[in-house]
């Protein structure tokens, strides 16, 4: 209906291969970016920015990271939380060691450590596939979590065992630490997420992205066509972990201000995995949709009883929220195992061929 594509023809491969070849998609993306960069900052209150938008963006980025590995390269991972933790602890150590360096730069650098760790734990993927591989990533999860607790150097031997983020400025504006305004942090998180999402989309549509999908879809055929399985998988592990690492660092630097090892526990891994699955494996846009669903739904669920004026204990609400989320996850898996991205694809296709059914 809204997709009126008549007259949109491509006279070059550049245009034909564009990320958004359809004009309406380009406009839609423009509108979303406008809302994100202009409308929300102008209208939203601190609660909305700090408790909804910032975590949503952080999780979106982490979901993109996991999606690279699981959705595009087909390697199941349950260690996302730990890889995010590596990013967080690395960034924390870096600010301690280089207090004068721009914190954004350090956050982006911290991903490299996470990438290295990710690649190491990706090594078994050469021989191990599917659920078995998931177990090896669980090894990473528990081992790294243990490291965060036991290696005091990582948290500067704080008595609390947590990392606390120092105040850092950029261009005279405080962007990290407790004094930073939600708005400033929002802009940092939004910019990093958007830029990384854009860059990774470029990788995904090119040679490297294709080689990952080859491994995912039919690893034997891929190998017989000259794809080196180990290199390709390790690269996916590294890139995925880099992105997760950056997300993990952002999580503590621009959202939580302080983090304990339990912030990066297996629960987080599952949360991100849910975002990816419900959002849609193999879709960058889906990662955003999944993150929105998993993060925002509980907030809404918790708010519902008080909105309705029903007086229920906070704990009960929490329990009910758990049940509803669990049930909704199962519901969506049954309705559309390929996630929101596929639902959106179907809807979009319907709109494109409207009023026809196909």
């Amino acid at each position: 209906m809204f997709y009126r594509e008549a007259g949109q023809f491509k006279t070059s491969y550049e245009k034909d291969q564009a990320l958004f070849p359809i004009r309406q998609d380009k406009i839609g993306l423009g509108v979303i970016l406008l809302i994100a960069f202009v409308v929300i900052p102008l209208t939203a209150n601190d609660f909305f920015l700090a408790s909804i938008m910032i975590p949503f963006l952080v999780f979106s980025l982490a979901a993109i990271g996991l999606n690279v590995l699981t959705g595009f390269c087909g390697q199941l991972s349950l260690g996302t939380g730990a890889f995010m933790g590596v990013g967080a602890y690395a960034a924390y150590k870096l600010t301690t060691i280089f207090p004068d360096v721009n914190v954004i730069l350090l956050v982006l650098t911290s991903g490299i450590f996470s990438a290295i760790v990710g690649a190491i734990f990706g090594l078994p993927s050469l021989r191990i596939k599917g659920l078995y591989l998931a177990v090896t990533t669980l090894a990473a999860q528990f081992f790294l979590e243990w490291c965060f607790i036991r290696i005091g150097w990582l948290y500067n031997y704080n008595a609390s065992g947590a990392i606390e983020i120092p105040t850092r400025e950029m261009l005279g504006v405080v962007i990290s630490g407790a004094e930073a305004t939600p708005l400033a942090r929002y802009f940092v998180v939004l910019s990093i997420t958007v830029v990384i999402a854009f860059l990774i989309s470029n990788v995904l549509r090119g040679r490297i992205g294709r080689s990952w999908m080859m491994i995912r879809d039919m690893d034997i055929a891929a190998e017989l066509m000259g794809i080196r399985p180990l290199q390709t998988k390790l690269m996916a592990f590294a890139v995925s972990s880099y992105i997760c690492g950056v997300a993990g660092a952002m999580m503590v630097f621009f959202w939580l201000n302080a983090a304990e090892p339990s912030s990066y526990s297996i629960t987080l891994s599952f949360q991100i995995l849910f975002m990816v699955i419900l959002g849609g494996l193999g879709s960058v846009g889906g990662a955003f949709m999944g993150a929105a669903f998993i993060w925002i739904l509980p907030i809404v669920l918790r708010a519902i009883p008080s909105m309705l004026g029903v007086d229920i204990g906070a704990e009960t609400v929490e329990h009910l929220a758990f049940m509803v989320i669990g049930a909704l996850i199962i519901f969506f898996l049954i309705v559309e195992p390929h996630g929101f991205a596929r639902l959106w694809q179907i809807a979009k296709q319907k709109l494109r061929v409207w009023p026809f059914p196909y």
Binding site: V135, L281, V324, I325, G326, L328, I334, P337
Partner: protein, 317 residues
């Protein structure tokens, strides 16, 4: 350093054999319990190819139901029977609402669904029973308490908890019963047929849905047993859910479809982790129990990706 790693632990083992034996016993009991959880996984995986992440929460749920019923005045044995009934209803519900609509979906989707189920059961369980740990009704069920100490050597002492002995006995009984069930009964044979070939099973007139409901029920019973045993050792709480993760390396070692594999894998992990923790853990600050099992599994996987009892996979094109 090298001395600490390679020599000292063994010297200790030799010098304090009673302590070593005690560790072995602890490992054995832990192993048995891991094996019981793994058994729940294996039952479901064998029959439906579903990696049931909810097994851990089922343990908690079964335990809580039992204790909760008793707290509300139901006699212990009646509570036990009612709990078995609840697990049956749960199994039927899961088959109807979750598994049946998701038939033929990829592994990862089924795995996700069981994680969703976990969330649901956590919420549901906490809603009904509250989040606080509860004491298992060990005595009420007629299970032994207390402990027996054996003198060992000159001044050594090995203490065996009675409940641990009971756990071992029950686990062994359970495995035997399951073995008989699978080999001697019609339904048991049907289950094996399903595991081997869905099409073949259908062609001999067995309803897949029925079978799935039955295996989930069987897994529920195993969960109940595990819940009682584990609950008797510590308390019944949602923290128990974490032990489900321990079952994963056990499965890796034993193979996803092998019942003896689950037992042996459980024991290896149980022994290995206790010994490693007590003799080597101190060197790196302790707490290595949380990941040691995985590292064993990981190393093992690199050499034998199909597990101890799995069949070798020949790839074809």
């Amino acid at each position: 350093m090298l001395y600490d790693i390679f020599v000292d632990p063994f010297v200790q083992m030799y010098q304090m054999p009673d302590f070593f034996l005690q560790v072995l016993w602890e490992g054995f009991v832990a192993g048995i319990l891991y094996a019981l959880i793994a058994l729940g996984f294996v039952l479901i995986f064998k029959a439906s190819g579903v990696f049931n992440f909810a097994q851990g929460i089922m343990v908690v749920f079964a335990g809580l139901t039992l204790v909760g019923l008793h707290e509300n005045g139901v006699p212990a044995f009646l509570a036990l029977i009612l709990t078995i009934g609840v697990m049956g209803v749960l199994a039927y519900g899961i088959e109807r609402v979750v598994m049946r609509p998701l038939v033929n979906q990829p592994d990862i989707i089924l795995l996700m669904a069981t994680i969703g189920l976990t969330y649901f059961l956590i919420g549901f369980g906490e809603l009904i029973f509250g989040g606080e740990p509860k004491r298992m009704i060990t005595e009420e069920l007629g299970l032994p308490t207390g402990s027996t100490a054996f003198e060992f050597g000159e001044r050594g002492l090995v203490i065996l908890q009675h409940i641990d002995i009971a756990a071992a006995v029950i686990a062994i009984l359970m495995v035997t019963a399951l073995g008989i069930f699978f080999n001697k009964t019609r339904i048991g044979r049907a289950l094996r047929a399903v595991a081997d070939d869905h099409q073949a099973a259908l062609s001999v007139g067995i309803s897949l849905n029925q079978i799935w409901a039955i295996v989930w029920f069987a897994a529920g019973l195993v969960a109940l047993a595990t819940g009682i045993m584990w609950g008797a050792r510590s308390d019944v709480s949602f923290a128990l859910e974490i032990i489900a993760f321990k079952a994963l390396p056990v499965l890796i070692l034993g193979g996803f479809t092998s019942i003896p594999g689950a037992i042996i894998g459980g024991l290896i992990i149980g022994f290995g982790e206790k010994i490693a923790e007590l003799y080597w853990g101190g060197l790196v600050g302790g707490g290595i129990e949380s990941w040691f099992a995985y590292i064993i599994a990981l190393i093992f996987l690199l050499f034998r990706p199909q597990g101890l009892f799995g069949e070798k996979i020949i790839e074809r094109v």
